[in-house]
């Protein structure tokens, strides 16, 4: 990847991480771990990959993103703000009673949010519906869905993948954020959906691997997905929960708790040092 582009993507990823911290710290609650793990992917999607127009968030031919792991809303909001859908100053209103930034994504009130999500397993089905709509209407937009690894314990995820394969939804690209941790502990110790490759292939999907924190790897995966015909692509994105904040990385407790003032200051300092 060209140095300029790489620098831009890294910069935007850092802005997204700062936005996550601002939101979760301001709210005093939320889900920083699984937000930080997808920050680089969102930077790439919103600043490189997706055909979108922040001035026209309901543009019919836009690419769509469904954050099926809706608890990573702070990351989505930070990406949307960074991309210009609304002012970044609004991020600190996250979860406040008078805010348009709900604890989980709300398509009715937040510009740029393509689907209301939060109840795990449901977003990927909606993404299938959007991809099917494109086929029915003869439109060429693409649909991206980000699914958690813990989320893929939900049976509906697999119902959706079977559906996507049945209806040849090659305009659908699902990313599984494989950060390895869920609320009750390591995914491998709860009810482990991994290994994924054989299952996904068996469900009729094209499987790609990605290092979720390496922009060259991210670019290769999304580029490959666009070449696939006749079936959906699932990208298994190996990620680090809490990525970018030293004390949050790979720590289950940061799935769903907010940093205090001191922890927030340290986290901001660490992210700024990466900019």
């Amino acid at each position: 990847m060209e140095a300029d582009k790489l620098a831009l993507l890294k910069h935007q990823a850092a802005r997204i991480r700062l936005g996550i911290l601002d939101g979760v710290h301001g709210a005093g609650s939320g889900h920083p771990g699984g937000s930080l793990s997808i920050a680089d992917i969102l930077s790439y999607l919103y600043f490189e990959e997706m055909r979108i127009d922040p001035a026209n968030p309901t543009w019919e031919d836009r690419d769509r993103l469904v954050l099926s792991k809706g608890h990573a809303a702070p990351a989505l909001y930070a990406a949307l703000a960074a991309r210009g859908y609304f002012p970044t100053e609004k991020l600190t209103t996250l979860r406040q009673v008078d805010s348009f930034l709900q604890g989980h994504p709300d398509m009715k009130h937040t510009p740029g949010v393509d689907m209301s999500t939060g109840s795990l397993g449901q977003g990927i089905s909606a993404a299938c519906g959007m991809a099917l709509a494109a086929k029915v209407d003869g439109r060429d937009y693409r649909v991206y869905a980000i699914v958690g690894d813990g989320e893929s314990e939900e049976g509906q995820v697999w119902e959706a993948l079977m559906f996507a394969a049945r209806y040849d939804l090659d305009n659908l690209c699902v990313v599984i954020d494989w950060n390895g941790l869920q609320i009750d502990g390591p995914v491998s110790e709860i009810v482990n959906p991994a290994p994924y490759d054989g299952k996904l292939a068996g469900f009729g999907c094209h499987v790609v691997h990605m290092d979720a924190h390496d922009f060259d790897s991210i670019a290769r995966a999304f580029d490959e997905a666009k070449t696939v015909k006749g079936k959906p692509t699932v990208i298994i994105a190996t990620s680090v929960k809490g990525k970018g904040v030293s004390y949050m990385e790979n720590q289950v407790k940061w799935h769903g708790s907010a940093p205090n003032d001191q922890q927030y200051a340290q986290a901001v300092e660490e992210i700024k040092a990466q900019m």
């Binding site: 469904v66 709300d106 689907m115 209301s116 299938c128 959007m130 709509a133 509906q156 119902e159």
Partner: protein, 322 residues
């Protein structure tokens, strides 16, 4: 719709049949898509499937995903009908309907067939007696339970003009048509006075409307003047019509092929208790599950009969006179 609503008054037709025929007929002028979950032959979406195969998508036996797919299609601007049995649409997929459809107020029409005890022989697992309650509690959901084939077809056309989620309840059991297909016009949210009366009001929905009309005729023979109201839109409820009946007749009996908890009886009681308190007695399945059997003995067993409505009407009258 004249081409499909050629049923004669008195002819026995299941509302699912009317749904299927109307869906296929409306498909000519409207570009909606239809989803089903491996029940097209039973829900009667098979007629649409045959006519418009490129707009029909079988989701297989995966109702939760079907509702999510419907939500995504609607989010992308399509009008969608999603069909399964009431048990598996309102029941199995309740949370998908709640979070993926109702919360974002998407234009998904959930058309559920095989509602109620009249599923018959398949028994309790398939006899959904809770769907009106479940759907009615969702903000912004329009809930419609047509009383005969003519109304079912008319309601289907009407909901195309409703911007937002709708739940339509259809039955498997053939019951007599009583609306005149040439003159009947369905209005969402409006009840219908099918017989006037002054002593008591029978507020019925679905197949119980026909039974309420029979009950009113019997009561007339005993000197009791019963008004009969067809409430085919459970939500938004025609509160004005209900309260007018409460004021003018002073006693109400509700009748529904549904649990007496949470459905029409509850909706009417809530409205009446807040607006014009009068006795409200409920005819319906009294908080129990169904069982296998032929439909007539099942209706008898669960008290879904004109005779039972008459009995409740007299009880309501006696309460009124106290």
């Amino acid at each position: 719709m004249e081409n499909i609503c050629n049923w004669k008054i008195g002819e026995k037709v299941a509302t699912r049949e009317a749904y299927g025929k109307a869906l296929a007929a409306l498909g000519a002028a409207h570009d909606f898509v239809v989803l089903d979950a491996d029940l097209a032959e039973a829900t009667k979406t098979c007629y649409f499937k045959k006519a418009y195969p490129h707009r029909f998508f079988d989701c297989g036996i995966a109702e939760g995903n079907m509702i999510g797919v419907a939500a995504g299609l609607a989010a992308a601007g399509k009008t969608v009908f999603a069909s399964s049995f009431a048990m598996f649409a309102a029941g199995r997929a309740f949370e998908q309907i709640r979070n993926s459809v109702a919360y974002p107020h998407l234009n998904v029409k959930i058309a559920a067939t095989h509602a109620g005890i009249t599923v018959g022989e398949d028994g309790a697992t398939h006899q959904c007696l809770e769907d009106l309650s479940l759907m009615r509690t969702l903000p912004g959901m329009t809930v419609i339970n047509p009383a005969d084939a003519v109304e079912a077809a008319a309601a289907l056309e009407a909901v195309l003009s409703v911007d937002g989620p709708c739940y339509l309840r259809f039955g498997r059991y053939a019951t007599p048509v009583f609306h005149d297909p040439d003159t009947y016009r369905f209005r969402v949210g409006k009840g219908e006075v099918v017989a006037d009366g002054t002593d008591v009001t029978l507020v019925a929905t679905g197949i119980m409307v026909g039974m309420a009309m029979e009950a009113a005729a019997t009561l007339a023979g005993e000197g009791i003047s019963a008004r009969v109201i067809n409430i085919s839109t459970i939500k938004p409820l025609d509160e004005e019509l209900i309260l007018k009946a409460a004021r003018e007749t002073g006693a109400i009996v509700t009748a529904e092929e549904h649990n007496i908890i949470g459905g029409l009886g509850s909706a009417v009681a809530e409205t009446v208790s807040e607006g014009c308190p009068v006795p409200v007695l409920r005819v319906g399945v009294a908080d129990s599950f169904g069982r296998s059997g032929k439909v007539p003995p099942l209706l008898e067993l669960y008290g879904l009969t004109p005779a039972h409505i008459c009995e409740k009407a007299k009880a309501a009258l006696s309460m009124k006179r106290k």
